[in-house]
């Protein structure tokens, strides 16, 4: 942490505390249970990685889900063949996703702008189609890759329990949870979440270091004006390729963690809607900021969880105090936006953010902060004048 500025150090400490205290902070909001917390952390990692490519270099990839899927598949294969310990699985998923990203990046990065987006989209769709059809021996096609009782797992002791073993870190099982009662709430401290959380913090720190390094500045320069860099005699491709591979490795890491918390992998993780989702998260949070992607990922996953649970009867109970006609009309309209219609809300929200708030939630926060400061500052001035 020596090389970080004062602000960055504070941000990192703040971030670490917030993440580690996640189960306590989020419990009052109904989000304190392990499954959702794990998803926050995993998609946070995915979005941080995506932001290293899109936020820093400006290259908009529409195929990042392919790396996520590859990471998941490799992790599950490691569980099947070698051991249920998570470390080898994670290592393999990062390495395989990195190699895959190297291959795709090497080809795609020959073009920029729209062409780059379309190339990555084409590669991701290709991987998705292949995973569904020809690669069925590796991916198990439509059913998805799952653990079996008779998998070899050569490093593990013979499995005599008759149940599929769970993922663990040197014996510490990932799905074990410690529960505490506090003020009427149940606090759940889950091993899997803390494992993801520590990796999220490490990933955040790495991203911070990358952003503040000369390499990160070079990436920003590529975003600002690549032509000028080329004219000054700098070959930008190694830099963009490195950024692409790094962000691919983050995606692979997220995919591996997904397999760790829930050991199965399906081809739908590679579909381009999944790639679109991470773009959404990054934009919503704030492109190019450190905290933004994590915020966006958390925001989307949280509201996905809340909104998809609301149904018509819940809506009716909310608006019961209104006259019947008004409440019926409101329920009728809102009905499209909740429950299964959550994606509609997401789409509308996404458009609003792109149109009015291109900097995402972070920019929104900054604007409100500045507005408050100006407002409060002015009232101070007027008070002074009155005195």
């Amino acid at each position: 942490m020596k090389h970080l500025s004062q602000n960055d150090r504070l941000l990192l400490i703040f971030f670490t505390i917030m993440v580690l205290a996640g189960p306590i902070i989020l419990a009052p909001f109904g989000a304190g249970y392990p499954d959702l917390l794990q998803r926050f952390a995993i998609f946070g990692i995915f979005a941080i990685g995506f932001n290293i490519l899109f936020g820093l270099t400006g290259y908009l990839s529409f195929g990042h889900a392919a790396f996520l899927g590859v990471g998941s598949y490799s992790a599950v294969w490691m569980f099947k063949l070698l051991t249920m310990n998570v470390i080898p699985a994670l290592l393999l998923s990062v390495v395989v996703a990195g190699l895959f990203a190297l291959l795709i990046g090497f080809i795609s990065l020959r073009r920029s702008g729209i062409y780059f987006s379309i190339l990555t989209l084409a590669f991701a769709q290709m991987s998705y189609n292949l995973a569904y059809s020809v690669l069925t021996p590796i991916t198990n096609g439509e059913t998805g890759l799952q653990l079996n009782l008779n998998d070899p797992r050569i490093l593990d002791a013979a499995n005599e329990t008759g149940t599929i073993p769970s993922t663990n870190l040197f014996g510490l099982t990932m799905n074990s949870t410690a529960k505490f009662e506090l003020l009427g709430m149940t606090l759940q401290f889950n091993v899997g979440f803390y494992f993801c959380a520590i990796i999220l913090i490490a990933g955040f720190y790495t991203a911070m270091r990358i952003t503040r390094s000369p390499f990160g500045l070079m990436l920003l320069a590529i975003k600002t004006n690549q032509t000028r860099l080329n004219y000054t005699g700098i070959n930008t491709r190694p830099y963009t390729l490195a950024a692409f591979v790094i962000s691919g490795m983050y995606a692979g890491l997220a995919g591996g963690l997904m397999a760790i918390t829930d050991p199965l992998a399906g081809a739908e993780r590679m579909q381009w809607t999944a790639s679109g989702e991470v773009v959404l998260m990054t934009i919503l949070g704030g492109v190019g900021t450190l905290l933004g992607p994590v915020l966006g990922a958390g925001f989307i996953k949280y509201f996905e969880n809340i909104f998809s649970k609301i149904n018509d009867s819940v809506l009716e109970s909310w608006f019961a105090f209104l006259p019947e006609g008004v409440s019926d009309a409101l329920v009728f309209v809102l009905h499209f936006f909740v429950g299964k219609g959550w994606h509609l809300t997401l789409g509308v929200l996404f458009m609003l953010v792109v149109i009015f708030l291109p900097g995402g939630l972070i920019e929104g926060g900054t604007r409100i902060y500045n507005w408050l400061r100006v407002k409060l500052g002015k009232s101070d001035d007027s008070q002074k004048a009155a005195e």
Partner: protein, 343 residues
Amino acid sequence: MDAILLQILNGLDKGSAYALIALGLTLIFGTLGVVNFAHGALFMIGAFCAVTLQKLLNLYSVVIDPTKTDFLGNPLKVKVPYVESWFGEALGQSIINWSVPLAIIIAIPIMVAIGYIMERGLIKHFYKRPHADQILVTFGLAIVLQEIIKAFYGANPIPTPAPDLFKGSFDFGAMIGFAENTIIYPYWRLIYFVFSAIVIGLVFAFLQFTTFGMVVRAGMADRETVGLLGINIDRRFTLMFGIAAAVAGLAGVMYTPINPPNYHMGMDFLVLSFVVVVVGGMGSLPGAVLAGFLLGVLESFASMNEVKTLLPGIDQIIIYLVAIAILLTRPRGLMGRAGVMED
């Protein structure tokens, strides 16, 4: 020989859909310089125009038919669609039967209006923003349109049959001198191909032979100069957006009998249509049409059993492979102009 011809024919219907969508995408890109990720959604909305018309025509009133009785002797209630009670039974039934071709008539104004509103209401504000923003906002719009359709029509495909006259297949090979029963081809696919050829021809004729089209072509070549000559080029480009939307919509309307439409059909076609546009050359209208048919036929060849046993899975990825090869070796595409979006 007949096997080759059969594959070419099989590829034509998908190729027609690719060509029509890619034509619209290229029109929008060539005129307004915007990459429209919502174009697939327009295709889908076109298909749902046909679905809606079919549903509307099938609205019925329940009347008591005195001529028919149930086994107790009571007069039977029968459902009579309104069109049958208005236009008489024979005409009414044939109107319902022909709902898909009839949907063309309602689809054109609807699609032009949607395109117009989209351009004026949303895309207009994005000309000066980076390409990434344009992609993102139209992507968001595509999600919204898709989800609205899903909310109204559900997630399942809705069968929308062709008129009885064109159901089934015919022996195309025998008509052109091959042995009988070698080339069996469904009527509707042939009609789809002819229809899209007509639409493509109309678009090109409109651009080539009308004053309006001439101005638009001039604007595509040099927007500023046309503007300086005192022509309101923006207004014409807006109309071109409407026309592009209508082309996508028509492609969707006529595609419904081939594949029952569902809410995500647009997205499935969109990804491929982008690839088509890239292969054809960004901004080149003939390139888009040519590449559309070419890739459709190529896909159909790749799905032959002989090819599949040789290279398993090739049918799934052939289009992407071609696109990658083209982008890397000839970035401007097959017929793209030099210097247009080459990096």
